[in-house]
């Protein structure tokens, strides 16, 4: 497993899981520093990544902790407090993209009201994320993506049709002469 981490604005890595755990244990990487490995969709604070939470004793003898969930929650007092069950369980490192910049690009590029719908949904994603309503944010994110794609495809198709029509028209106009 290749881990990367960001400290003071510079990116370090790749490191194996054991290496990065060692650096965390030595205090070289703090719980608020960001880390990422392939498969995670975004960088997360080290303190929130469950894979990196094993106590130093556990990394020395992995087979010594057979019942991981209960043992670790009891053994590690610095574990993040488990929040009240939210409607949507977020996978580690999962982010909800708002597609705000993409929707602005397609709106200015394609001139379609569908682009405006996409921007509005993108803004809703940001607001819902800020208020912690992740289920609604995910829904708005999907809608923003959908409308951005509709706007882009419609814009391209319409332009291709006009291009084809004017091109064949130009050919027919030339032929009689």
């Amino acid at each position: 497993m290749n881990w990367f981490y960001a400290k003071n604005g510079s990116q370090q890595g790749p490191l194996s899981t054991d290496e990065i755990k060692n650096r965390i244990a030595m205090g070289e990487i703090g719980p608020s520093d960001l880390a990422w490995r392939e498969g995670m969709s975004d960088w997360m604070p080290v303190g929130q990544i469950s894979e990196l939470k094993a106590a130093p004793a556990a990394s020395a003898s992995p087979e010594a902790t057979p019942s991981f969930p209960t043992a670790s929650s009891a053994a590690s007092p610095y574990q993040a407090p488990s929040a009240a069950p939210s409607p949507v369980q977020m996978a580690p490192g999962q982010v909800i993209p708002s597609y705000l910049w993409q929707s602005i690009v397609v709106t200015l590029f394609c001139c379609l009201p569908a682009g405006i719908a996409s921007i509005v949904y993108a803004a809703k994603v940001e607001g819902l994320k800020a208020s912690g309503n992740f289920a609604a944010a995910k829904e708005a994110s999907d809608n923003a993506k959908k409308w951005a794609i509709i706007s882009l495809v419609l814009g391209l198709v319409i332009n291709l049709i006009v291009f084809a029509v004017s091109f064949t028209g130009a050919l027919q106009g030339v032929q009689p002469q």
Binding site: F4, A6, G9, Q11, L34, W36, E38, S41, D42, W43, V95, P97, S98, L100, W101, Q102, I104, V105, T107, L108, F109, C110, C111, L112, P113, G115, I116, I119, V120, A122, A123, V125, E126, G127, K129, A130, I158, N159, I161, V162, F163, S166, F167, A170
Partner: protein
């Protein structure tokens, strides 16, 4: 398909490059080869993106004033949105997000909504000074 995303990204960039060169050489809609703004043609109203092609053409030929005149909001907003979309596209292609990223937050996001929609409405008003917002 390890390099599928990179291939797609490079293809899109090349296509945009060809389109940009075409625009630089031929100028916007001089030979009726582009649709122009379909929204404008069907409704007679200006959309938020109207004038962007002419603005880009003017900018390519160093006329910043004319570019600003064709679409003042787009001239500022489009490069920012395009650059940030490009950054996200590269992160998507290499399957690894950037550790530092510009997250707009709800206030800026809604401000952008009001900016674009407000610009759309205002540039269709028939009175000075709003007529300055419409492309000449």
């Amino acid at each position: 398909m390890r390099h599928g995303r990179w291939a797609l990204l490079v293809a899109v960039i090349l296509l945009c490059g060809v389109a940009a060169f075409w625009l630089y050489q031929r100028g916007p809609a001089l030979d009726g080869m582009t649709a122009g703004c379909v929204f404008q043609k069907t409704t007679g109203l200006h959309c938020p993106g109207c004038g962007m092609t002419r603005a880009t053409y003017a900018l390519m030929h160093g006329d910043v004033g004319a570019a600003f005149r064709f679409n003042p909001v787009g001239l500022v907003l489009f490069p920012v949105a395009l650059a940030l979309t490009g950054l996200e596209a590269v992160a998507w292609a290499r399957r690894k997000p950037w550790p530092v990223r510009l997250v707009p937050g709800p206030r800026i996001a809604w401000a952008l909504v009001f900016l674009v929609v407000g610009f759309w409405i205002l540039r269709n008003l028939p009175w000075w000074p709003f007529t300055l917002l419409a492309p000449p």
